[in-house]
Every structure is written in structure tokens, then in C-alpha cells.
Symmetry: C2
Subunit: 124 residues, 2 copies
């Protein structure tokens, strides 16, 4: 049984390395991947590996933060594609073997601050 | 010294209750609030309480998930304003008294799925 935090670190390291065999080993066979923003869902290891393998662009990632409990982990990662940068927030749950059984991803995009609060905020 | 998970639960419960005195007690005096999507930052307890107190709309919230380590916590919350729903993902760090010293918020919005992956995904 592997610690889920370690599994998640391996998941990201093998994605960055395009080592899809090692990537697949971090996943439960019936893993479910959910994207609430588009209401898309991918079921099963094979499809989910394929989704990542086919994902377009020369993307690279770096882990910004991980918070882990025994059965659930969140990661905050920074993705770069050329000059473009994006954050991803990913919630993972694990099975009894320490593999990833569910992953739910959020991809927050930049937006303009609403009016009426610049007496409290500064921009950085 | 309070557990940071408890502090975060109190933070959200008192925000929902508009109990701004109790809300302020969850915060370190020099708390820093950061919104990476707008590149806004708010420094100090007084301003941050004001920001929340002034936030427009009859918003309500529900905690969907919390993952906690001793010094850092993430919460995934569902906000509703009338019929509109939004997720917020919030990363907290605590000081030595278990108060919130930093909070970084993400507000991911719905978007249309990119073309070319519907052979792998289903919509829900």
C-alpha cells in the first residue's frame, strides 16, 4: 500500500515525463476523472491515460502545493504552454492500494476585478 | 492553540451567519488574502473583514470538502446567489495560534469543452 501523497507526486512526475506506463500505474482501473467546469467525465484507466497522452500542446507542470490526508489529497499545480501559464487545482481520492480512484480538476482563468472594491485591494 | 481545520470551519460558518466579530477572530491581524485570477491582494484583518462584509448579493455557502494538515488547509465550497452556483477553492495557512494568516482563493467558472476529446468524455 502506497501513501496517496506519494502516488500523486508520481502521477504528476510521470505526466511531465510523458511516461504513460508509469502514469497508468498510479491509477485504479475504474478511476473516474471529473471536470466540473465543463461537466465532462472520463471513466476508466485506459481512457484517462489516453486523454492525457492526447492532450495537445507542449505543456509542462510544476507542483505549487500539496495538502494530504491518508485517503484524500489536493494539489495546486502551475501549467505552462509556451508563454501561457495556468493553475490547476486537483482533488484526488485513493483506493485501498493507494492508487487514484477519483480526480476532480478545476482550471481557474484570469478575470477583471469587479468594480467597487479597490478601496480595499491592491493589484500585484 | 486551535486546530486550523476547526478555524476554517468556523471561518465559513461565521461568514454564512454574517457574524463578523466571530469571523474576525479566526484571522491573524496581518492576514493576507490573495486572488490570483484578478491579481488582487488584501492585507490586514480589518480590510479583509470589510471586504467580506461588503460583498454584494445574498450569497450562501456550503462546504463540499476540507483537506487539512496541521499548518495548511484547503476547502472546496459551493456558493449560491439566488439560482447561480459557483465553486470556490481556498488555500489557508495558519499562524502559531491556529488563526488564518494567509488565504488564497480560486473561483473557477464554467466553459465549453475544447473540440476533439468527446471520444473519451461523457457530459453530466
Amino acid at each position: 500500500m502506497t501513501d496517496l501523497r506519494k502516488t500523486v507526486e508520481t502521477f504528476w512526475a510521470t505526466a511531465e515525463a510523458r511516461d504513460w506506463d508509469a502514469f497508468a500505474e498510479t491509477l485504479a482501473e475504474d478511476v473516474v476523472y471529473t471536470l466540473p467546469q465543463t461537466r465532462e467525465r472520463i471513466s476508466g484507466r485506459e481512457r484517462f491515460v489516453e486523454f492525457n497522452r492526447e492532450y495537445p500542446g507542449d505543456w509542462h507542470l510544476r507542483i505549487e502545493r500539496i495538502i494530504a490526508e491518508p485517503g484524500q489529497v489536493v494539489s495546486w499545480t502551475l501549467f505552462t504552454v509556451g508563454l501561457e501559464e495556468m493553475y490547476a487545482i486537483s482533488f484526488f481520492t485513493g483506493d485501498e492500494n493507494g492508487r487514484i480512484s477519483a480526480m476532480t480538476d478545476f482550471w481557474p482563468e484570469p478575470y477583471e476585478p469587479p468594480a467597487g472594491r479597490d478601496h480595499l485591494t491592491e493589484r500585484y
